[in-house]
Structures are given as structure tokens and as C-alpha cells.
Symmetry: C2
Subunit: 444 residues, 2 copies
Amino acid sequence: MSSLLIRNCRVLQIPLDEPRATVLTGQDVIVRGNRIEAVQPTGQADISHFHDVIEADGMLVMPGLINTHAHVPMVIFRGLAEDVSIEKWFNDYMWPLESNLQPDDVYWGMQLGLAEMIHGGVTSVADHYFYMDRAAQAVEKAGTRALLGWAIFGSGGMDAINQTANFVRTYQGAAGGRIRTWMAPHAPYTCDDDFLRACVQKAEELGVGIHIHVSETMGQTEASLEKRGLTPIQVLDQTGVLDVPTLLAHVVGAMPGDMAILARKPTGIAHAPKTYLKLAMGTAPVRAFMGHGIPVGLATDGAVSNNTLDIWESLRLMALTQKQEAGSPEMMTIPQNLFIATRMSARVIGQAHELGSVEPGYLADLILVDLSGVHHQPLHSVTASLVFNTAASDVNTVICDGRIIMQERKLLTLHEGDIVAQVNAGMERLAQRVPSRRIQVYNP
Amino acid sequence: MSSLLIRNCRVLQIPLDEPRATVLTGQDVIVRGNRIEAVQPTGQADISHFHDVIEADGMLVMPGLINTHAHVPMVIFRGLAEDVSIEKWFNDYMWPLESNLQPDDVYWGMQLGLAEMIHGGVTSVADHYFYMDRAAQAVEKAGTRALLGWAIFGSGGMDAINQTANFVRTYQGAAGGRIRTWMAPHAPYTCDDDFLRACVQKAEELGVGIHIHVSETMGQTEASLEKRGLTPIQVLDQTGVLDVPTLLAHVVGAMPGDMAILARKPTGIAHAPKTYLKLAMGTAPVRAFMGHGIPVGLATDGAVSNNTLDIWESLRLMALTQKQEAGSPEMMTIPQNLFIATRMSARVIGQAHELGSVEPGYLADLILVDLSGVHHQPLHSVTASLVFNTAASDVNTVICDGRIIMQERKLLTLHEGDIVAQVNAGMERLAQRVPSRRIQVYNP
């Protein structure tokens, strides 16, 4: 069994159920196989007993970051839909662009996005997209962890449900357990009630959860109330979607009554604040969710709205926008933000007891953050620096499932040059846009 | 006279008076002495005629970034006042902490902050702080450009005004013209009318402008209206402050009537959106300022509120928060954001015709931005990447006043190790906080 010693590091520690953050100094972290074996004061371990030793020299070890909602392969369309309304974004840009999509685009796009995320310390992603068999192959190669869902629209009918269910079965536990699979209907406004009910039935049969967009804006919530007298959350409740484990993307447009429903259900919210700002979608009620005991995790959404897959940016923007929304800089404190970035993000993807913490028994998804850059100095507060100063480029080393996948910023599993060349070869085709050729129509 | 050839680059071009952005490819930029001599298609220049040649290989050349309002040496207190209200931030943290301040702290803190800014492509800063003779020495050493003001409070009386005027005289045009100096009264709420009038008189005598905080929050504006029936902008108008060139920090709490006043005056606004979010100060009316023809420049404010001195972050947050505030993703377009980051920021510090553009005759303050990182790929839109993807760490090379001061991310004028060691040596003393020992009281 492989073994790894990370010597003389700082360690970020956050309890399972409490937004409190402490930083231990002068620690060793011991990894055996794909699990953390020990966290102990430095100097006690015998270096000769380990296959690999990383001299951390004061760097901070913390859990690998978790991106709880993305469409990673969309990086191939990055920068193609700027300064446009949500309606145009969907109908004139994204959905026409996605009619260009080929399985190979997903394979290389997924690799490109995973390369970006590894560079920024992201070891897990909950991804929601098409041709997910190809995405799974990219995850296998990258050495990261993923919760994958093959996105389907109601227009696809039972064929689509059976196809995505097949994917769930085939890839569940793939890549040595690093890949998990869930059902992924797109949203209540693109899937009718019968379709949602059929998805629930399939999820129950397969023993998996559902990853879905819901109440992305208050406008969607109002449209749903007008059309049928129900909020989108109430629709999910009535169709049984909320009775299986669910990962709900966005929920910016939550009504007060939605909170009580969500608080009773095995659900979690993916929060992607850069997208909400950029598309002027409003501010998600993160503090209210947390106050109701509804877990919230950090996310980037896709790169056509978010432009990057940078979870540090999501963390910082969550902290900043929630302070602004609260009208008080005393709210949404540093420990609360770090709690969401680690423990809560793990909970949202259903791995609260094996991810999101540097502690014995947990899966060894770890990152080393270099806080020696001048933008952190002097380092009066490590935790403040993590929320407000740390850049993706401060991540020095990334370990996933006990294996080093980036060391001193060099990727060990993916070849950037090849990936970029493969994606660039298709750029002209990818950027073609025929508004009448679209995979779906946005009309919530 | 020194000469520099930057070979085969992309060049960002933005007209003087219009928010329009284009990117030329395959260009050479020729620098002679401290000025740009030519921008021309690559391959025409004879390499042997230049002292220095930089092979840009597709990197983007754009104007050095301008930080239009900061308190750079405050980096020494970074992370010491987190999750607190504005009142506590001033009265229980900043102003007590600043009672620890010694001239050497400013010298080393300024170097530390300049090192951070050079790493992020900032070549000019308008700084507002104490012991500015020491700050000027740091700027001279760093090789950057600065508009410096020695901050004074009304409580200092004529002695303070004379001292700061002395600084203005002594350091005007220092460092071979890279340093300019202005008067720097703190704010209307810490300086009475007579004091402001005396500052104006002194500024007129010296032929300089005034850099001042005003209407930092709507709360300050309301307090001023209640106390004396005038907005803080009206106070500046009545005391003559707006009749000299002014650089107004923040103006988050602007009233509609303030716009008409500012539109008639030789003034500009420094915009620091990260600080506004973090301290829940509200959203500055950037689009309204620009609509009234009032120039706006990007800023970071000090690192105790902003945590970093990263102008890319200010650019991105301005774009995002203004789209949110407008309630429309179609507003505050990419060209408008880049116009503010370059042309308008130069105008705000009074250098519209020699900074903020890559064109013949302009001062050679240039940066090379490396857009080859996976977080920019594929590069469908260079200008979108500049606003939404670029990190400080993408800046590869920095040239100020014709001199290379960072090359391939290595600082050539400052010694990071020495600076950090000097600052860290004083950390314990710097972090001491006796609330009763403060340099000022916040009670707007």
C-alpha cells in the first residue's frame, strides 16, 4: 500500500458541525493508501518508512476543494456569450453552441477544465452535462473525484431517462471508486411533472440521488407561480424529487415557504456567486439556508457564465456578496465561509464523513497552499488569507485519493499542451452559432 | 538613451474618449528612453538596434495598471481587522493600530505593497498615508510611479497643512519625475471647513490637486445632511475643494444632486469595490458617474479592508457588481470596464495624455500578460479574459518609465526576502492594539 508523509505543515481544522476554524502549526500528515492515517506534531515519523515525502515547510494543508455544481466541458465555449441577457444567453448562444457538441469535445473539454481545477486545488466536482461517459474517462485519467450526471430534458422522454440511468449503472464506482453517478434532469422548467416522477422512480431503483437546477432566478419562481401556483421548489416537492438525496443548483429565487420544505429534506444547495453577479440573477439567501440547517456548497457553474472554474473566487465572492446582502460586515464570518468551503461542500455531495476534513480515516484529498507570496504577507491571519487573499496560483501541490496529481504546480496526470492543442483544433467549429439550431428553448 | 523592443505581441487598444476595445496581433512595441516610440507589425525592426529585446510570443501588451486610491503601507496590518463593523474597524482597530506606526514601518510596508502590486501589473498608485517621505523613498527604489499625499486631519491644524505642503514641494517630480505629490486632507468628516479652505489655498499656491475621502457610505452622507443640511460633496463644493483638481475616494453615498456638481468640476472618482462589499458599504453609482462624464478609476483602498492590492480583482468586481446593481448582464460591458481600467484611471490621476494607452508618445508603463494558462483556454475572447479570467499571477513582465522592473515574474528592483523579513520583525509590535490609543475618532 502506498504511503505519503507531508512534513512540517500548517493544518486547517474545522469541526464537522460547527463553523469554527483553527490552524495547527508544525504538523505532519500521514497518508496510507487512499486515506489519511494521522495528523501529528512533526518530527515523530521515520522518513524511511514512506514511499513519498513532501517537505511542506510551513505550507497549509487543507481538504481538496469541492466544486458542487459545474458543466466542466463548457470551457470549450468560454468567452463566447458575453454581456447578454439570460434569455439571449440560453436561446441565442448556449443552446445553439451546444448543438455543435460532439463526444470528443466533452472528453477534451473535461480534461481542460479538470486541468484548470487541479491547478486551483479542486479535487472533486459534481458535474452536470452531456456525453458523460466521455467525461468519466477524462476524470479517470485526471485522477480526480467526480459526481457525474448525464443531463436530460423532458423532451427526451423515457429514452433519455433510460440512457442516463444506463450511464448511472455503468459508471457507478468507476475509476477505483472515485466516480459516483446520479440522475440529472435539467430543471423543472424543462422537465414536466411526469418526467420528474419517472426520474425519481429510476433514482430510487438505482439507489442514487438527483442533481438538478431549480429556482435559478426569482423570475423563474414568479413564472412558475403564475403558470401553476407553485414555486419550483414546491414542484420538486410534489413530484417526489426532494425525497431522494438532491443537489439543487442555485436556488437564488427561494421564497420564504421554500425554506421550510428544504429544511425537512435530504438536500443541499450549490452556490455559484460569480455567475449570479455576472448574469444579474440576484443574491442567493445563503445565510437563510444555513440558518434553516440546509447545507450549502461552493460551485462555479459552467465557464460560459462564470468564465473560470476557480473555487477560491467562489469562496471570496460568497463572503463578499453575503456581507453586502446582510448590510453588515460582521455577518458571514471567515469561519462560516471556510465551513461552507470544506465541511458543507462535502455534505452537499453526500460525502460529509469522508471528505472536507484533514483527519484520520478521511479520504486523502489534500492540497498544499503556499502562503509565502507577498500578497499574504505579513501573515497575521491564515484564515483571513484563505478567504480574501488566496489565488488559485497559490496551490502548490494536489493529492487526490492518496495520489499526488500536481506537484509544485506541475500536473502529473494530464498533459496541458496536448489538451489545449486538441481543443484549439476545433475552435472554429465550436464557435459556430445558428440560432435556429438549438438543443432547447428557454421559456420558464 | 535606452531602447527596448517587445517582439510579436498582442496589443490592447482603447481610444482616448470611447469605451471600445480592440486587440491587435503580431505587433512589435518599441520603447525609447521612457516613452513608447512605435507600435507596428512585427518583423520590421532590426533586433541589433536595441539594448533589450523581449520575445513576447503572443503575450498581450497593455498599459501598466493604475491603482487610483490606496494606503499601501497598511499591508503591515493585513488581516488584523476582520468581520467587524465600520465603526469598530476605525475606532477599535485601524486607528489604534496606526498609533503603532513608525516611519520605518511605512518604508518597508510601502516596499511590500509595491512588490505585491508590481507582481500584479500595477505601475502607478495614488497613495494617501503618513510619513510619505519614507513612502517616496520606497517608490524611488521600486522604479514605479506614484501620486503621493501625506494624509492630515483637521485636528492637526495649520502645522499639519504646512508639513504636508512641505512634503508636496520637496518630493514634486522626485525619482526622475516618477513621483508627483498632492495635498491629502483625510475627509470632510475629519476636517472642518476652515481646514479644507486652507488646504485649497495651499494646493493653489503649489499648483497641485487634492486627494480626499468623501461620501464613503450613504450613512456618512445622511449624517452630514442631518448635521448641516449639506451632502459631503456640497461641503467640498462650498469650501472650494472641487475647484482644484481632485481625486475623490469612494463616493459610494452620492445623492442625485451631487452628480450635477461633480460633472462641472475637474474631478475623478476612485472606485474600490472589494472594500465596499467587504465592509457592506453599498454599491457606488459607477454607471451614473460615467453617464455624467465624471471619470472613474480603479482602486484597492488599503489592505486592511481590501486584503490585497490586486487591480485585476477590482476590475472584475466592478464589472460584476455593476451588472448586478443594474439588474442587467447587458450593462457595464467588457469594453466599458477596460476603458475604466486604462484610459479613465489615467485621467483620474491627471495623466490622461501620457498614461493608460499603448501608443507612440505615451510614457512606457507597460505590462505583458500571459494568456496561455488553462484558465484562459480556448481564448475565444481576449477582452473577456482580461475582465473575467486574468489573475495577478498571469502578469509576466512589467515595464515602468521604460525600465523593466519585473521579468518572467522576478522582481528586478526590490528584494522580497529582505522586505518580508523586515516587516515580520515588527509583527508583534504592529499587532498591539490599545483602543484608547488611537490617532483619530470615527464619528461622521
